[in-house]
C-alpha cells in the first residue's frame, strides 16, 4: 500500500538492476566550482520595497472602483455593509451573497484587502477601536522544563467603512447616472424602454429573450449595436441585475421605466408635431 501523504513512491521495483549513480562520472563535481563561480555570487543589489500609494484615500477609492468596474456593486455593497463594525465571517458571508449570481475569482479577503489599501475599509476591534498594529507576541510556555512558543490569540478582526469610504458610498447616485444615460442615449430610448419592460416581468427576462426583442430593430442597424451593449449600460446604473439566471429590474430601474416612458412619449409627440408641420397644405385643392 502506498503512502499518499508522500510524493516519493516507495514502491519502485528493486529488481531493475540499475545503478543510477554509475551513470555519473567525476566531471560533474569537477565542473561544479566553475559552474557556480562568478554566477551564483552575483548579489541582488536592489531591495524590492512595497510601493506606497500616497494619493488621498478618496482618489484611491475612486481609482479602485474605476479599475474594478465589474466588481463595483460588490465593493459598494461591502462599504454599505460595513457602516458599523462587522466581523470577518459576517463580511465574507455578505460578499458571497453579493456575488451569488456573479461569480468572481476574487475572494472576500482579496476584496477587503483592496478596499483597505485604497482607504475605504479599516480593521477595528469588536468595540470599533483601531486594530493594534503588527502581530501580537507569541506566548512562551514551559513543558517538562523546555520552553516553547505558542501562537497567541489575537483580537478578532472587524471591518468598518472609513469616512472616505462612507462618503464615496453616499455619493453614489445610480438614478442620476441612469438619468444622464437616458439623456445621452435619448436616440435609443425605445430600446431602453423595451429592455426595462422585459426585465420588469415576473421572473425577469433571459438574455435570448432580450436579444430577440432588440437586435433586429432598425435603430440598431447603423451603427450596428446589440442588446448586451444596452444591458451593460443599464447594469452599470444599477437599473437591472442578473439574478436566478435572468435579468431583473431593480428599484432604480423602475424609476428609470417612468423616466424613459416620459422620454419616449415626448419623442412621439415631437415626431407627430414634426409630421404635422411637414404635411402638405390641402387648402385650395
Amino acid at each position: 500500500m502506498k503512502d499518499h501523504s508522500s510524493f516519493l513512491d516507495l514502491a519502485l521495483d528493486d529488481s531493475m538492476g540499475f545503478d543510477p549513480l554509475g551513470a555519473f562520472d567525476d566531471e560533474v563535481e569537477e565542473d561544479a566550482g566553475a559552474v557556480t563561480e562568478g554566477y551564483l555570487g552575483t548579489p541582488h543589489t536592489d531591495e524590492p520595497a512595497p510601493k506606497v500609494d500616497t494619493r488621498p484615500a478618496a482618489e484611491r477609492i475612486a481609482d479602485l472602483f474605476q479599475s474594478m468596474a465589474p466588481r463595483r456593486k460588490t465593493l459598494m455593497g461591502m462599504l454599505t455593509f460595513c457602516a458599523t463594525p462587522q466581523a470577518t465571517d459576517a463580511l465574507d458571508a455578505e460578499v458571497h451573497r453579493l456575488q451569488a449570481d456573479n461569480f468572481s475569482v476574487y475572494t472576500p479577503a482579496s476584496l477587503a484587502n483592496l478596499l483597505e489599501r485604497a482607504g475605504g475599509l479599516a480593521r477595528v476591534t469588536a468595540d470599533g477601536e483601531p486594530y493594534p498594529e503588527g502581530d501580537p507576541e507569541p506566548v512562551l510556555v514551559e513543558v517538562d522544563g523546555v520552553s516553547y512558543y505558542e501562537a497567541a490569540e489575537a483580537p478578532a478582526v472587524h471591518w468598518v467603512a472609513t469616512a472616505d469610504g462612507t462618503a464615496y458610498a453616499e455619493a453614489d447616485a445610480p438614478l442620476a447616472r441612469l438619468t444622464d444615460l437616458l439623456n445621452e442615449d435619448a436616440r435609443y430610448a425605445t430600446i431602453y424602454e423595451r429592455i426595462l419592460n422585459l426585465t420588469a416581468q415576473e421572473g425577469g427576462a433571459t438574455t435570448p429573450a432580450i436579444n430577440d426583442a432588440v437586435d433586429n430593430d432598425e435603430l440598431l442597424k447603423s451603427p450596428r449595436l446589440y442588446a448586451p451593449h444596452f444591458v451593460d449600460k443599464l447594469e452599470r446604473c444599477d437599473a437591472v441585475e442578473w439574478r436566478d439566471k435572468s435579468w431583473r429590474i431593480t428599484a432604480v430601474g423602475q424609476e428609470g421605466q417612468r423616466l424613459v416612458a416620459d422620454l419616449v412619449a415626448a419623442q412621439v409627440a415631437e415626431a407627430e408635431a414634426d409630421a404635422a408641420g411637414d404635411a402638405p397644405a390641402t387648402d385650395g385643392q
Binding site: D9, P20, E47, P48, V146, A151, A154
Partner: protein
C-alpha cells in the same frame, strides 16, 4: 568480569540506538514540516495545525530560534483572511512574475547550480539518480521536477524513517549506511544551494511565515551539519590522521629514491 563489560557495552549501544531513534524521528518531523511549507500554499487545515503547534524557543541555534519565533509571531496575528495573504505571498516568493530568473526564490536546485539559472539541469539528474539508488521515484501526481526543495527535504525524511526502522530492528550497519547517505545528500545537495535560495526568500517574501521559514531552513541545515560532524567526527579525524601519517612517509620514500 568480561561478561559484565560486554553487557555494559551492549546496554550502552542499545541506549545510543534508542537516543538516535528518538532524535531521528524529531529530525524527520522537521524535514516534513519544511517540505510541506515549500511544497504548496498553506491551506485552512494546515494553518489550523500550525496554530496549534508548539515551537521550541531555545534550541541553541540562533537561526532556528529566530525562525520559530517569527513563525509563531505571524501565526499569532493570522486571521481568517490569512489563507489568501499566504497564497499571494507564496506566489510572490516562489513563483514570481518576472522572466529574468531573478524574480523569486525558485525552490529548484537546478536554478541555483546552473549557469543560466535554468530548471531541469544536472542537479535534477543527480538527485533523481540518488532517489532511484534508494528505490524511490516521484509519484505521477507530483508535477514539479525532482530537484524541488520539498522533494529533497522529503527524501531526507524518508531516509530518516528507514533509520528509525533499522535502529529498532537492531541493524546497525543499515543505520550507518543510511546516515552516511543522509550526510552525503545534505552536503552535496541541500547545503550547497539552499542558503542561496533562502537569501532570495528573505528578499521576496513579505509574510512573517515565509520570513521565518527562511531562517528556520538555514538554521536547521546548520544543525544537521553539526549533527553529522558529531556522529562522523571520529571517522573524519581518523581519516585526517591517516592522511597526515601517510604524507611524511611518502616524502621519506621520495627522498630515499
Amino acid at each position: 568480569m568480561t561478561d559484565t563489560v560486554t553487557t555494559d557495552l551492549a546496554a550502552e549501544e542499545a541506549a545510543d540506538l534508542a537516543a538516535l531513534t528518538e532524535l531521528t524521528a524529531q529530525r524527520c518531523a522537521v524535514y516534513r514540516l519544511l517540505a510541506r511549507l515549500y511544497r504548496v500554499e498553506v491551506d485552512e487545515e494546515f494553518l489550523a495545525e500550525l496554530k496549534a503547534m508548539r515551537f521550541p524557543a531555545a534550541t541553541g541555534n540562533t537561526a532556528v530560534d529566530t525562525g520559530y519565533r517569527t513563525i509563531a509571531t505571524y501565526l499569532s496575528g493570522a486571521d481568517a483572511h490569512a489563507i489568501t495573504d499566504l497564497a499571494v505571498d507564496y506566489v510572490r516568493a516562489f513563483i514570481g512574475h518576472g522572466i529574468d530568473a531573478y524574480s523569486a526564490a525558485y525552490p529548484f536546485e537546478s536554478v541555483y547550480t546552473s549557469p543560466k539559472r535554468l530548471m531541469m539541469q544536472e542537479a535534477r539528474d543527480e538527485v533523481l539518480a540518488v532517489y532511484r539508488s534508494e528505490g524511490l521515484d516521484k509519484l505521477p501526481t507530483w508535477k514539479e521536477s525532482e530537484d524541488h526543495l520539498a522533494l529533497e527535504l522529503e527524501f531526507m525524511a524518508v531516509l530518516g524513517d528507514r533509520i528509525v526502522a533499522a535502529a529498532e530492528a537492531g541493524n546497525e550497519a543499515e543505520v550507518e549506511r543510511l546516515l552516511a547517505t543522509q550526510r552525503n545528500f545534505l552536503e552535496d545537495h541541500l547545503a550547497s544551494w539552499v542558503p542561496l535560495m533562502t537569501a532570495d526568500l528573505r528578499r521576496f517574501a513579505q509574510c512573517g511565515l515565509y520570513q521565518g521559514l527562511a531562517s528556520l531552513t538555514d538554521g536547521f541545515i546548520q544543525v544537521e551539519q553539526e549533527f553529522f560532524d558529531e556522529i562522523f567526527g571520529d571517522e573524519g579525524e581518523a581519516a585526517e590522521a591517516a592522511e597526515a601519517d601517510a604524507a611524511p612517509a611518502a616524502t621519506d620514500a621520495e627522498e630515499a629514491e
